[in-house]
Symmetry: C2
Subunit: 130 residues, 2 copies
DNA sequence: TTTTAAATTGCAATTATGTTGCATTAATTT
DNA sequence: AAATTAATGCAACATAATTGCAATTTAAAA
């Protein structure tokens, strides 16, 4: 069991993600950080933030991995529902937005044990459809 | 506008995907083909098959890209609903299966134009839970 | 059947993405 | 302030995917 520490890199990366309305990729985070730390460090910080339940990972329809804070989730909820809400992936601007209030309903054969779900809708977001 | 041609590589790759009960990755396809063609060709054939609506792309929760045929979809349907069914991604065996009959319902703010959806559930598949 | 035009392929090179080992640095604990 | 150990940087490696271009193959036209 490790004892996590607060470092400049971790603080800055979390701030970036928390203040972004859309999910960010590793590359986007790196360019925002402007050389603050090594790219390997970013990967490691992201991993740590995930295991500390501060952020979560989203994969868009093209397979691009992004990272997002879950604004609507309380600290409690984070541990319970594992960020199983829906995401919207815009075809034009490529941005991923959390759709906090969408709760899809579905039925699945009971021999499947569902632990997580990824529900990503794609199309045109409000910004790009104007 | 290109005039697609049938080649050995294309035929074999489509046959592989059509006969597989689970979605296949590029690497899996390559090893099955046993040197029939270059890995670049496989990428290009897969792209072509997608644009010809013969197969579709699925991304699992870890961001691994796989390719699958849509067995339950008629040629007609392929053009209409764009393979918008659900997938199940097994944590243990890493296999992706199409859940043909699941149709999730959801409500979304109307300023979002939804064109496609990716609904991937993950957990333990029937094979691995025995 | 032979010719022709364009689609497809192979190969080499390049880019993107992610991981690992290890020595060094920095954050906590005492 | 010193000790402990988490975190970082760097180099190297691994894998996934893309691009340009010359050579090949397909399918249609002659």
């Amino acid at each position: 069991m490790k004892n996590p520490r607060n470092t400049v890199a971790k603080t800055e990366i979390l701030k970036l993600i928390n203040h972004s309305p859309v999910a960010l990729s590793h590359a986007e985070i790196q360019s925002e950080l402007n050389g603050l730390c090594d790219r390997v460090t970013i990967y490691r910080v992201l991993d740590r933030l995930i295991s500390e339940d501060e952020i979560h990972k989203v994969v868009n329809l093209e397979g691009v991995v992004k990272y997002a804070a879950c604004h609507s989730c309380s600290q409690e909820e984070k541990h319970v529902h594992a960020h199983n809400h829906a995401h919207f992936s815009c075809e034009k601007c490529k941005e991923i937005t959390c759709l906090e209030d969408i709760e899809p309903s579905f039925k699945i054969p009971k021999n499947y044990q569902v632990k997580e779900m990824n529900f990503t809708l794609s199309g045109i977001c409000p910004n790009c459809s104007e």
